[in-house]
Amino acid sequence: MAKTHVSTCINGQDAEFLCSPEQTLLEVLRDTLHLTGTKEGCATGDCGACSVLLDGTLVCACLMLAAEAEGHDVTTIEGIASGNDLHPLQQKFLDHAALQCGVCTPGFIVASKALLDEDPDPDEESIRYWLAGNLCRCTGYDKIVRAVQDAAAELRS
């Protein structure tokens, strides 16, 4: 079957791939490009485990065709740290023990990054609303909210 050729920029680097028309961006990220940090929880937009940034906008990679990424910038969890230096959000998730199994964590971190890019000082209610599309089945949300607040404070200082 005819494959579609797609040119994008992923985590700051030009990336090209071939995909079939019905493949999702999530499938291509994980299976073709081996960027397995982005997780699949539901594949129907409900859990947020597949959260990525598309030109800076938070989206579910499971609800996008890979072909739709043509000409756009994609940021995945692999693009959040600077080299070996963890992003404050990553460090604070560790400090606050805001993860257990960790399957939801990449999605939470990418989603929180999008929030802090837009609002450096969100209150707890805004954080909870913003992250309502990210589900965690083991940690509970309090530690996650604390980690985001603490990372926000560090980024502001």
């Binding site: 579609t4 937009g45 499971c62």
Partner: protein, 298 residues
């Protein structure tokens, strides 16, 4: 493009004309073709109830569909078919004049879903619980449709014809929706009820737009309700209950009763029919009160 019926294909036309010819060609060749906007309904359906191959026509490269126009002239407000809920909730011009419509867009799914989901996709998907549909109806929105026989327009209340059914014919697609720029002292509001605070679909919903005269008397109103019938409904009796009043408690209650009377809900896991009939009245009253407050402040 030549595609056998058993294959998926992806096309990204760059103009209205190319989109229409792709859609029309496919339909005359018996190839299934479907418009893709934000994909938040299409991809979920593709992964579940509707996995069959088709040609997916991504309209996001058509310049007209990415447009938001806010004009005080008779052109009014235009929101193109690729405009996402996130774009709307960040658009100060829209928020200032159509707070209820923007509220409805903000209620769609999560932040992630709003990043992709479009207003027009929500309308075309024609779910009885689609949040933006009552809000579009209250604002007199009209669909601008292009197809093999040229352009036509259709009011939103006539566009949705049944559960997940719209009035588009073969080869047609919606370029965008247009509505009048609300005059001074006109404002809208939209409210829905869900069993939790986020990420659920409406049990019942109501959108209201009111215009006040200098004395604070309601001179025009539109009321629409959602999730309580196979399609969102315009409720003229509810509007009549508001017009001529100062939007006092008695007239709000009368409008609420008209919404209950107009609804024909089903019972499901989210609520019984009796409950929906009751809640839709409350939502209408509260949305009318909120629209009135905004109109007074404009």
């Amino acid at each position: 493009m030549s595609q056998s019926t058993s294959n998926f294909a992806y096309a990204m036309p760059a103009s209205i004309t190319d989109t229409v010819s792709l859609l029309s060609q496919a339909s005359s060749n018996g190839v299934r073709c479907q418009v893709l906007a934000g994909g938040t309904d299409l991809l979920v359906q593709l992964r579940s109830v509707d996995p069959d191959p088709r040609t997916i026509v991504d309209i996001k490269s058509v310049p007209e569909v990415s447009r938001v126009e806010v004009s005080n002239s008779e052109r009014g407000v235009f929101i193109g078919g690729a405009v996402s809920a996130a774009t709307m909730t960040h658009h100060e011009g829209l928020k200032a004049i159509l707070p209820g419509l923007v509220e409805a867009a903000y209620l769609i799914g999560s932040t992630q879903i709003q990043g992709r989901a479009t207003l027009v996709g929500n309308l075309c998907n024609a779910s009885p619980a689609g949040d933006t549909i009552p809000a579009l109806i209250t604002n007199q929105a009209v669909c601008e449709i292009h197809g093999p026989r040229g352009a036509r327009s259709l009011p939103v209340e006539d566009f949705v014809v049944g559960v997940q059914k719209n009035a588009l014919e073969a080869g047609e697609f919606v370029v965008g929706v247009r509505m009048p720029h609300p005059s001074a002292r006109t404002a809208d509001a939209y409210l829905r009820f869900i069993p939790r605070t986020e990420m659920d679909i409406a049990v019942a919903s109501a959108g209201v737009s009111v215009t006040l005269d200098d004395a604070g008397v309601c001179s025009a109103a539109r009321v629409a309700i959602g999730a309580v019938a196979p399609t969102a409904l315009l409720v003229p009796d509810a509007a009549d209950a508001l017009v001529g009043s100062t939007l006092d408690e008695a007239s709000l209650a009368a409008a609420g009763r008209a919404c209950t009377a107009a609804s024909s809900p089903i019972s499901d896991k989210r609520g019984t029919a009796a409950y929906r009939r009751k809640v839709v009245a409350v939502l209408c009253e509260r949305a009318a009160a909120s629209a009135a407050e905004r109109a007074r402040a404009r």
